[in-house]
Subunit: 487 residues, 2 copies
Amino acid sequence: MTENGILHPERVLTLDTMNPNVKRVEYAVRGPIVQRAAQIEKELKEGVKKPFTEVIRANIGDCHAMGQRPITFLRQVLALCTYPELLEDNKFPEDAKSRARRILQACGGGSIGSYSMSQGIELIRQDVARYIERRDGIPSNPDNIFLSAGASDGISTMLKILVSGEGSTRTGVMISIPQYPLYSAALADLGAVQINYYLDEANNWGMDVSELRRALAEAKKHCAPRALCVINPGNPTGQVQSRKCIEEVIRFAAEENLFLMADEVYQDNVYAEGCKFHSFKKVLFEMGPKYSEKVELASFHSTSKCYMGECGFRGGYMELINLDPSVKAQLIKMVSVRLCPPVAGQALLDIVMNPPQPEEPSYPTYKKERTAVLDDLAEKAKMTEEIFNKVPGISCNPVQGAMYAFPRIELPQKAIEAAKEKGQVPDMFYCMRLLEEKGICLVPGSGFGQREGTFHFRMTILPPTEKLKVVLEKVKEFHLDFTAQYS
Amino acid sequence: MTENGILHPERVLTLDTMNPNVKRVEYAVRGPIVQRAAQIEKELKEGVKKPFTEVIRANIGDCHAMGQRPITFLRQVLALCTYPELLEDNKFPEDAKSRARRILQACGGGSIGSYSMSQGIELIRQDVARYIERRDGIPSNPDNIFLSAGASDGISTMLKILVSGEGSTRTGVMISIPQYPLYSAALADLGAVQINYYLDEANNWGMDVSELRRALAEAKKHCAPRALCVINPGNPTGQVQSRKCIEEVIRFAAEENLFLMADEVYQDNVYAEGCKFHSFKKVLFEMGPKYSEKVELASFHSTSKCYMGECGFRGGYMELINLDPSVKAQLIKMVSVRLCPPVAGQALLDIVMNPPQPEEPSYPTYKKERTAVLDDLAEKAKMTEEIFNKVPGISCNPVQGAMYAFPRIELPQKAIEAAKEKGQVPDMFYCMRLLEEKGICLVPGSGFGQREGTFHFRMTILPPTEKLKVVLEKVKEFHLDFTAQYS
């Protein structure tokens, strides 16, 4: 092999010799379209003329990057933890200072630069447990809480510990289609079997137990199904599950002996009227001991979404219900190898779990900022659905929750053929064209999975309202032009 | 299976069904002895009488937890990045503010709460490259830099991508014995073959190419050796490699087609006279194109050690030399699944790479604080070696660098038998007794690996000087009592 004129006849690590599981991993949210977006941004900077002046990245739920402002109280406490000299500064409110002092006392040597316990700082796990108790009205044990570097870390960790066997006994894990591609990526990496169950687009991306049964029966022929993953509110699909649906899923998991994984990182992002977030934990316990003493459940939360949007800090936790104590010991050992989740992220999580109370000085600002973020998202969720549904050839389910629309697009046969000629899947072809012509970066539906013959894209609703309107208008324009060109 | 009186006849995830590779993982630095230390701390709090009043944790290189103070400049810049309102505060020096502004400008939406590129913020990778260039006098390309969550993250990532094959073609990775147990843990987790090469205790834990050859020849009979890991300065052994030795290792890797991994996280922690840190990268390039255009090298650094000791922030980077471009593309894809390393850790790394310069206002304080930490460590390194070597039955190589002593201990035959009766390895038995009797938490040598029939422990030199003296005296006392009891 030559490159730059240098011979590397004996390179050790090549595409042929590397870990084959890693090669199978795909992660569309940061895939080729996002790399092309970065190139275009560079070209714009270098003065290359384009039919637009900036790339709008609506591909990833990166709140602050899209202009969402951090919650003041969170950042005040973090700044105090980072530079405790500020505890003497009377510009900082007392409630922020008391939070910071409490966190620092729980850190080795009073510094967030110390390692924490691998499972996470005990005080913070206690605060997480109390938060869960307030949310669900069900007891929570800090020993069952593991802090993590964002939810992704917790999910990957649980999937890893779940996977075993070879051939027809290899662990299978049920994931929704469409799914958030962390799941398919982690399963590919682990060499586990991905079992697809389809959400029902015609029924607002609902989860249907008969479809779960179909997928499971099919899978049992060639692997050992062991876990069922659910994302609620949905990513990329934005649906919010009803209590009834969650009950049915729990019953199914109990009957079929499946370990339940509930990805609940959008639990505060619920917008549609009549919709409410129900945690799997709460529903499980309200179904009585027949279920609550049997079903194994891991639920995940994060500081990256909701009203905080603090993606960069990599804060998160998982709660484990009915986990075998000897497996828990193994899990503690396993996470200890990476020493600890980032402590600044742990501190941030603590403040989210233990926010200002009505009697505290920071409450009014906190409340105002939090409400503003969530109201704004609710408005944009509605606007997105409405504008998309006015475009012939685009149909969009209500964005009940989370941060994404996942509209279906009709593509003319000629466009599908043109894509095939370019060696691209049709929705990638569509999104690439949209990027080149309008400077809008979306993720093709194929990156999340979709029913054969249907096409979608995922778009975040995060751009500021005025910009989001422009984005939606541009997508509309593009879609009409594209359809006309290939009809 | 029953526990707490509840029947779990159908639990999905059990010790029998879980990932068998995870079961094989061991990580002594946070193993059973550390768990017992935590219990004892709880007992002390509850008023249980012990022959000591506090547990001294000398088991892990957790600098701030042992009283080391954070470097003011690092924390000032981080506080400014966290809460940019402070940029208006004239208590902060201008050089800290300009660093913070520069970092924030490189963040999406000007917030460290945004995701970064998965490889790390480009500006910070540029600063890393410039730091490496200043250190080595050799060009460095920011595209070859990957930021990571501490060095552990980078090391695990590279090992993962390196592993493939089954049975006799399964990837083997050469690691030193004694080693830092991240390596054995990651290899067990990946199901890779661990190839042990022994450091020469009689020669100050030197690395000897003839021993590398022996280990490699042996390993080739049952696996496919592909990589060679080196820790310099050494952990747990504290030696600093000579330039000549590094050259020999590079020559060996070139001849034998091994991917080199250089763990250089203690690069500023060099204390012994006549010792100097030489990076593998620098030596590789100074050996000329025959080597510098051929040998594949990953080198690792971290913000957790050196004079910073900022373990909790999980900052770090790796530089990749001669990596196959298509493998690099795979690596970028793989790290993108976890989205990004913690951004506060990235920011911290940036300041370490780009510290105050002599003409800047923060320089004098920065310089003073940095020197104080390193001088203090140098003094403690010397003191540790000297005191240990005065104890009959303990012999300790000079602590030339890093943060640990790894003395050899002679254990009486009766003690070895008493350990066997308890089902413990002898040095675990010894360390457990030390913990119970003196409240000092060390890690048994068996957790790092050692030659059959020899026994050691690892102790950090991090406690403050006066406390370290007490620790050393207590270990001495214990060792003499223990030896007497079993003689």
